[in-house]
Assembly symmetry: none
Homo-oligomer: 425 residues x 2
């Protein structure tokens, strides 16, 4: 089955926001047997109608994103209704939901917000717990003799579109699409190994079978290894994949930090962090996980040397002799954090995020990661991530989390056979 995705939003065409909808939808639709054959981005306003008319004649399933909000340039709902000749009627349930949302937060509700509660007759409402604009599904009965059998209007913000896709769009497709088109998808999430190594070690071999769709998605410090096959096939090859890639696979869905919080929570282990160059983002990632408070006791962002001494008890002579960015200081920070917090494990980071501050021996991108653990010797790893500041912080915190994951699981600490810098590009 072929799908077409229509993105609306001047902010996309103006280059203010990167369009992530296509990649997300393509990935989610593949297991339903749906291929995205075309994607188009049009400005807010009239061009949406023309794009919609063309898409409904060309594809089997059509998705729009954006243009469902309260402002005058949000006209996707009206364009679809007009094109299909469907009157719009107010939906009391949606309206009271929106009113309640505003009331709960003590905000005044502008009258135009009520537009979002208008529903074309014959369309089904897709609830939006994360925003005011609901989505809409148009079944074959209202699409008439057009080629398309299914039309979905989805909201623009990813944090509204994605849960709506999971909770309403995919289940709906599951009920309306033939069972023979069904596929299973599994995504192994790996860290400490590069995309091409995954391909070499097992991906090529699996691809050669001919009955599996094999894909890779590499992001800084991680690789998603994606398999799509007929129901049952993925269970059958799972043991082979685990045998080859096991130690690098941290989950089949959850984030690295969520996997660690779960692992440590199960074993009643506690954690503290002492961060210099990563400036709180290591603690920030851990505390993004619901339930992190069971595991995470305290974090110290000791940016200045005085803070490293006063808060963590790093000896001033260590700082003077080796410098703040050094193996002994990383070890002392981790040990200090463990001592001060009383946690079983403590991670530390000290490095040079840049853009300035590098030296010949310690260029921008250098980072030392320390791990102090009850019952194990303290370990320090030196890594090198010569990247922009935000990517550097992400890769440094990922490498620190992976060091902890390997310690907790008693895996080799060599970070994947010496590849401590999983991926540069």
């Amino acid at each position: 089955m072929q799908a077409e995705v229509i993105n609306t939003g001047s902010e996309l065409l103006l280059g203010l926001v990167t369009n992530t909808h296509l990649g997300y939808l393509a990935g989610e639709l593949a297991p339903c047997g749906i291929t995205v054959a075309r994607q188009v981005c049009v400005p807010d306003g009239p061009p949406i109608r023309e794009a919609l008319a063309a898409a409904l004649e060309r594809a089997d399933v059509v998705f729009t994103t954006g243009g469902l909000g309260p402002t005058t340039d949000d006209i996707t709902r009206e364009a679809a209704a007009e094109l299909l000749g469907l009157p719009l009627l107010p939906d009391e349930e949606i309206l009271s939901g929106i009113r309640e949302r505003f009331a709960r937060r003590g905000l005044p509700m502008a009258e135009r917000v009520a537009r979002q509660a208008m529903v074309p007759v014959g369309a089904e409402v897709l609830p939006n717990p994360n925003g005011t604009a609901p989505g809409l599904y148009f079944p074959p009965t209202v699409l008439g003799s057009r080629r398309a059998r299914h039309l979905f209007l989805l909201p623009g913000p990813p944090r509204e579109l994605r849960p709506m896709t999971q909770d309403y769009v995919l289940p709906k497709l599951g009920t309306v699409l033939p069972a023979s088109s069904r596929r299973e998808r599994r995504i192994y999430r790996l860290t400490g190994i590069g995309e091409s190594q995954v391909e070499e070690r097992i991906g090529e071999k699996l691809e050669a079978r001919g009955d599996l769709e094999v894909g890779y998605c590499a992001r800084p410090s991680e690789v998603d290894f994606r398999l799509i096959g007929t129901p049952g096939l993925l269970d059958q090859i799972e043991p082979e994949i685990r045998a080859v890639l096991g130690e690098w696979i941290y989950s089949e869905g959850e984030s690295l930090e969520a996997a660690i919080v779960r692992l440590m929570g199960d074993k009643h282990l506690t954690l503290a962090t002492a961060e210099s160059c990563t400036g709180g983002s290591l603690a920030g990632r851990i505390t993004n996980v619901p339930g992190a408070s069971e595991v995470f006791l305290a974090g110290y962002v000791t940016y200045a040397n005085e803070a490293k001494e006063n808060i963590l008890g790093v000896p001033s002579e260590l700082l003077a002799v080796h410098g703040a960015v050094s193996e002994p200081v990383a070890a002392a920070m981790a040990e200090g954090a463990r001592r001060v917090s009383g946690a079983k494990f403590a991670l530390s980071t000290t490095g040079i995020a840049g853009p300035s501050g590098g030296t010949e021996n310690k260029p921008v991108g250098t980072v030392y990661l320390g791990l102090a653990s009850a019952g194990y010797p303290t370990v320090v790893r030196r890594c090198y991530f010569p990247l922009d500041r935000v990517t550097f912080k992400h890769m440094a915190t990922s490498a620190a989390l992976d060091l902890l994951r390997r310690q907790v699981l008693e895996l080799p600490l060599e970070l994947g056979g010496g590849s401590s810098s999983p991926r540069l590009g």
Copy 2:
């Protein structure tokens, strides 16, 4: 002038690669007076010809990306030549450049690679120092009576496309476009106010003038208010915009955290943070800014009550009587962080990120933000962001940063007249 961007590449439609070309090109073209009016992504192969034919009738300038490589599915060059009725001739200079590239790396050159040296008669070659496939520019003389006056075929990999755009496309456009088409763009970034309030207060009025393009982009806790007009016009209306929206405008480009680091750096002010529910992400945002170490001294992530007492000196009776999520504890955390770190300002956060842990009086999403400042009384604000955990943390840290921004600038601390929750949807 209106442009259309045609992206080819199955990897884009399969969701394996995020399309960053649109955002990049839109940003680079805006100052030339070129607006991207439409973008379409088609698979490698025949659909490119149809998309190209339609775009050349619809837009003034057309860009394609991808499909210039050596493999059989790379047919953009051939599709354009065929559509325009131009014979393809081998270009000896390109061919020898490609041969040299292969020789230099000791690689054999497959015969199909030579396809990349074929040039449609009348097109100009855009050199590609970063890859084998050169770009092509088709001037009005070969486009005939079609609407489009300029067609650019660009390579797919961003690291080839971007330098080619800088070094060849933009200079070419500078010579062929009339000066009268030039436009200016300004983006006001606001926090503490909602998109619909911006529209009501001034957006509608500016839109009604007819000589300005007005746009909005809302993200959790911020709104980008975007204006495009002829040179000089934006300077002319700037005072009116500042008079109406001034206190909510934190920058015309940089992030909220970058604006604060700059503001505080200019005034030689220092900052510490004491975070509970935001778990390090406040410090993380601040330290994402290059040069943050001039301003940021230390951060404390005091997740557990013991950490609040031991590290920040929050009195245990305050915690016992009022609970950790309370106005007095937020104040004591901020004051403790200021005292322990020696910073001029300290921000604190304590709240319930959820999904569990809420009570009737303090439901999930409640957060107290504290600000202790040298020379000002300590202030605490209660906010309510009943959203997913990551968005909650983002909105809470934004509101905390805005409180600090307002204090440093001596603006009213009421967070925009009581609207501390800028946007729901």
